[in-house]
Symmetry: C2
Subunit: 258 residues, 2 copies
DNA sequence: TAGTGGTCTAGACCACCAT
DNA sequence: TGGTGGTCTAGACCACTAT
């Protein structure tokens, strides 16, 4: 392996530049192990901390992932899961019999598994209360927290909030929500989803999110706050999706008003 | 100021926990300066590098921003700019006479300014070529790169790609594109935007993007790849929007197919 | 000029992993 | 057991900011 001299002026930058060049040129392929921090330091004539700083820079760029006790590895480029505004289409569901998550997993030849983590009656967070038109002071909603996996790899965290007045005494308080799922039960209550709104932000994951999503450092999350509106234009369900941004992309198609 | 003992076991975690507690409790308000790294080290009885590591952790969480020569400051929480699928609505444009960017700036009482950085004929990047149905081997597109500012603060980087065969000999090769802007000229060429598709990912900014967007470390970008389709369903324009994720959110509303 | 963050050195010990 | 990353110490000099 050749470590050509980098263009940066700082030693840590020079090391990072040289290694980045090896990666982008393909000399170091995804999955390959980098020279150890001590080895990089030796080759470039620096202290170990300086080589370590170079590795930190590359980690922040999401090019490499350090693994304790094993080494630093070039990131695998993974195909993106794609989620979008077609995921609520009843037509797709009728034709395939699959929920959007299971459909996307099948498309990529992966096994879908969904784990219910918690179902409880809680006081909603501010942004949810605002959208559902309920109080943050009382336990006015039911919260359903689920973890979604593809071949046992974590993919997304999904938290659904429904007004307690809609959920009380229905299967919405149970792990299994019956035919048609959550939206089936909400239709029983007279809420037919007619319009949806997705509000999207990106941010770094919280500690808990990073842990569940197994997100290497330098990987942000996509945070999608979805609101469902019924035939009367009334919001009746809010769901927060948290995705690893290096594994998921979002797609929205829309008609342009003339 | 009280620096209560943190719960973490590692010294760097303990310092970070203590400072985070000061911020979330409001004892340190947005804009306030943290104790210097040397002072934190003194108070907690550690080496400076350890206090520095604590500051790095908080920076990664986007809670604080170090400023060279001045100090480390608690982040200001800023209101989000909001962009969505209504931005291509001709109706809004007719009613207000404002482009979506200028409309959002007016909504927030800020002055909009747009700076054309480059207009050149280039070979398109792979993802753009794929969507426009052109070759990556020839200079088959014109690229228009613009920087958008709100009160002189950078907000987004916008790069538009149009087939050279559509742009040749029109105002699309000039900084001023005339009435109705880019889409006005494309309508002259017979492309009326009928459908749009936005593909959204989040990632850490490249060095150049971070520099222009003045993005503090720990802040990801939202990368929106927009494709416009005309009345025949043919793609005729691709635009990449790169936003600072702590300053911008996206909103999509859509009808649900019955 | 004094104080700040930015970077670096040359060590040290620990936790984790493979053999 | 040896190699790896994770963390820490106790210094040092530089670049930037304010006075």
């Amino acid at each position: 392996m050749t470590l050509s001299e980098g263009a940066g002026q700082l030693p840590s930058r020079r090391i990072a530049d040289a290694v980045r060049e090896l990666i982008t040129s393909g000399e170091l392929a995804p999955g390959d192990k980098l020279p150890s921090e001590r080895e990089l330091a030796r080759r470039f004539g620096t202290a170990r901390n300086t080589a370590r700083e170079a590795v930190r820079l590359l980690t922040e760029e999401a090019l490499v992932t350090p693994v304790h006790g094993k080494g630093v590895f070039v990131r695998e480029k993974q195909r993106l899961f794609r989620w979008g505004n077609d995921r609520y289409s009843r037509k797709t569901y009728r034709e395939t019999g699959l929920t959007p998550f299971r459909l996307e997993m099948k498309r990529q030849g992966k096994r879908a598994s969904i784990q219910a983590v918690a179902i409880d009656r809680v006081a909603p967070p501010y942004d949810v209360a605002e959208r559902l038109g309920v109080s943050t002071d009382e336990e006015s909603v039911i919260r359903r927290l689920n973890e979604y996996h593809a071949d046992d790899e974590p993919v997304q965290l999904v938290t659904t909030y429904i007004r307690w007045s809609d959920a009380e005494g229905t299967l919405l308080t149970e792990p299994k929500t019956g035919p048609g799922g959550i939206h089936g039960r909400l239709e029983d209550k007279g809420h037919v989803m007619t319009t949806g709104r997705d509000e999207i932000t990106a941010r770094m994951p919280t500690h808990n999110e990073a842990q569940f999503l197994q997100a290497p450092s330098g990987v942000p999350v996509l945070d999608v706050l979805h609101t469902s509106f019924d035939q009367d234009g009334e919001p009746f369900e809010v769901t927060r999706f948290v995705h690893r941004a290096d594994r998921s992309g979002l797609v929205y198609t829309f008609d342009v008003e003339p």
